[in-house]
Amino acid sequence: MIDRRTLLVQMATAAAMAAAARLMPDIAFAAQAADHPSDLTWQKAPCRFCGVGCGLLIGVESGRARAVKGDPDSSVNRGLCCVKGYHSVMALYGADRLRRALVRRNGTLVPVPMREALDLVASKIKETIASHGKDAVAIYGSGQWTIPDGYVASKLWRAGLGSNNVEANARLCMASAVTGFATTFGLDEPMGCYEDIEHADVFVLWGNNMAEMHPVLFSRLLDQRQQRRGVTIVDLATRTTRTSRAADRSILFLPQADLAVANGIAHLLIERGWVDREFIRKHVSFHKGKTGIGYGLADKEEFTDEAAALTFEEYARLVSEYTPERVERLSGVAARDLRYLASLYGDPARKVMSLWCMGVNQHTRGTWINNLVYNLHLLTGKIATPGNSPFSLTGQPSACGTVREVGTLTNRLPHGTVTNAEDRRLAATIWGVAPETIPAKPAYHAVEMFRALDRGDVRFMWIQVTNPMVTMPKLARYRDGARKDGRFIVVSDVYPTPTTDIADVVLPSAMWIEREGMYGNSERRTQHFAQQLQPPGEAMSDTWQLIEVARRLGFEKLFPWSEREHIQRIWEEYIRFHEGAEHAMAPYEELRRRPGVMWPFVDGKETKWRYHAATDPAAKGSGFDFYGKPDRRAWIWFRPYEAAPEVPDQEYPFWLGTGRVVEHWHTGSMTMRIPVLHRAVPSAYVELHPDDAARLRVVNGTPVRLTTRRGTIVLPAQVDGRGRPAPGQVFVPFFDEKALINELTLDAFCPISKQPDYKKCAVKVERA
């Protein structure tokens, strides 16, 4: 017999289950709770997604990852994650995981045994080199490569094949940060670390929607503001975002005008006497480079900068052109806001942290704007001490670890550059090859590599852990080029993507904790993860795929390691490149033991702040020592404002900017398969300013046609969503492979870093 109360409970349960089924229709919930404690074991791993490098604990039971927690022992996130991290393990379990190798036959990809696919890859490499030369074979990797993946790829190409034709997608995301560091300090990667957040009083975010893109670090900022008086967050951006709303002050500037804003602040610092003269006299030298340097729009365009020395007075005269009034005209930033910014940088009592990511790096003057932000810290001496920190954030889990530290860019080596004979000799010695094996000339940087594929100069390309058929700017050219006859494309990935669509061979990869590896995050922290799961089907780690192919090419001697030990052996060989106080890496056992170790790791100690004798074992003397440059000084560069290559005009009257949302990561090939994330933001849209929307008679959901000189797309409008572009600008996220915004973007890049600008081109906006 059912009493009224039982009936009510049952009705409520049924209603809740109906609601539950709508919410999570794809997740099986145990009808009955487990009556015995589960055998879940927790094991550490860095998060699979962004460059913050949160420490996770993965709950594994019966060979499957079933839950995630933040690792309270990780100093990065202290137990907190973002929505992607909490759901990261679900990215392993999309029903369409690639489990078998595929080879294209008569236009169709058909499953073949892994062995056969690897044979084919090796024979195609051999064939292509014989017919078209060494630089006709290329490998295009990723900031999602583990350190061993990138190391083996670089070694196979440079020491094995004798070609520098190694690139990575980090060219599209942080090459400007690298050249910024290199030109200002002579060495890559930040002098500070995340701990600066707990010391800084002022945070200036340069074109960085940190609330969505680096949410765990942004929460550390918000936490400091709650705990300490006087903590100020300033959002300096082209678009109003969640970050702007959470900040104490939101200042909008016109696209490209950050160059003028930074110079305007420098001018005010000098004019008001807010510079640290003593620091400048001892530790800074002044330079200017070439101007009018172009935008890399033509094939084979080359550029080499030349530094001319300046005195402080000459530099001051050059920036004095950037008066508040002129900056206001160029940037739209009110003169009083510029004075406010200068007062923050100039106040000797306040420690300042500048943070940036893609807004600064994806910029046709990306190297310049990196230099210009450093200038503000160098003029005021607010650098390389706790809380005084210009900090370049990264977007991929190992863009720093694998691309920058291992040097998987055409011009780089695990230590130094290919153009430097000494660096080549070191590499040849460690690799056990003749020094002349490694060419002294770089091959192709990323955009040029895809142009070469289109032209036919590159005939074979192996793409690992990245999705260029979503991410390349001016996509149609590079997709058509990849599809031309006589091109052979190998793609190693975990899911079908628009890039596997153009592949001749698809190799199924073991993903993340299905293999052992290391990532390196934005604060010079190396993080090891053990293999915790078996990969599905015949899936194999990218490292081992490369080794298998290398052995088929006759390079057994370069890769002699056993499958069981190879990650440890690779690490031990790799860190020989970094011996010495400037870059020493932690030993393997240390990495296994701890949730991440920062380099330089000297005498068992991490280095939190570089370039100061108090904290950096490589620094000489008793104070600052910018040992990366031959003059042991940090370089202030005069870099002027120069316009973007394509600006709105009558026919294409809006600016188009692209970017991300918190729920999705990179091209969405993983996060779109996580139901929670897909349901939160299932597809792309175009954000408009409410005034523009009203003028175009567009409301939320109205189809809007965007057209640039390169392509057209129809997207639903979003008017009162999470972001608000300035009038005359639109914003589109790039995660949605069904709505490829990169059909419209321009492939202009910074001539120094060769990094494309995805934030600025001219677009026509119409009701569809």
Binding site: A12, A95, P703, R724
Partner: protein, 229 residues
């Protein structure tokens, strides 16, 4: 009009119809996709994994944009409803209602209801109280949910929820079956009108919960949980 004329016209009409169909099919393939129809993307099953459907994409986006499809809230809250909002026990729950201010990180907006709780007439339900009001970037972990279908089926299997009432002996206080990280405030979830009915505590006046209820789960910091090779 002769019979042959009629046949000719019929043939012309058919040719026009066929070319229109051809243009439509090719147009769709060109417009909606970068994948030629002849080269379907393959999953393991050998069937095309994801046909591209631009119209569906636009429809879904409109649904999100207009936020008409937010799933309902359950009242009173039940354990099943509680777990249904979470991908696995311990995962941050999704937001089952439209965001009051999608441009905000949460903070004041979310906490104006979720700090203290109380009756929410708009949902006909009591508002769940957050156990961690100090974390103000709410949308960092909690995201909205639309009713669109998953893009691809997931084979993820969550850890089962812990059994409730696992007392050592009848009448003994049961141990705490979950991690206390970000859940230090027991009464936020276990007391008050918004508490989940099955785990509502009978004696909220005894606020020193951990005097009787032992933490039954190791918080599992990596220092204690370094895996074997």
């Amino acid at each position: 009009m002769s019979v042959s004329d009629r046949r000719r016209y019929a043939r012309i009409a058919m040719a026009i119809a066929l070319s229109a169909a051809w243009v439509f099919v090719v147009g769709r393939a060109v417009r909606g996709s970068d994948v030629p129809a002849a080269l379907p993307r393959l999953g393991d099953s050998g069937t095309p994994s994801r046909p591209v459907d631009a119209e569906r994409s636009a429809r879904e986006s409109r649904a999100v944009a207009s936020r008409e499809t937010a799933p309902p809230v359950d009242s009173p809250r039940t354990l099943r409803g509680f777990y249904a909002r979470r991908a696995y026990p311990g995962a941050p729950p999704v937001i089952p209602h439209p965001l009051a201010d999608p441009e905000a990180v949460g903070g004041a907006v979310c906490l104006s209801c979720h700090r203290e709780g109380g009756w929410a007439p708009a949902f006909g339900a009591y508002t769940p109280v957050t156990p961690h009001p100090d974390l103000v970037n709410c949308v960092q972990c909690h995201v909205a949910s639309t009713a669109v279908d998953a893009l691809v089926r997931t084979d993820f299997e969550a850890v089962p929820p812990p059994a409730i009432g696992r007392a050592a002996a009848p009448g003994e206080p049961p141990p705490i079956p979950h991690s206390l990280r970000m859940r230090e405030n027991c009464l936020a979830c276990h007391a008050g009108p918004a508490a989940v009915v099955e785990i509502r505590v009978t004696h909220p006046e005894f606020a020193e919960c951990m005097e009787c209820h032992a933490a039954g789960v190791d918080d599992g910091a990596s220092s204690k949980a370094v895996g074997q090779r």
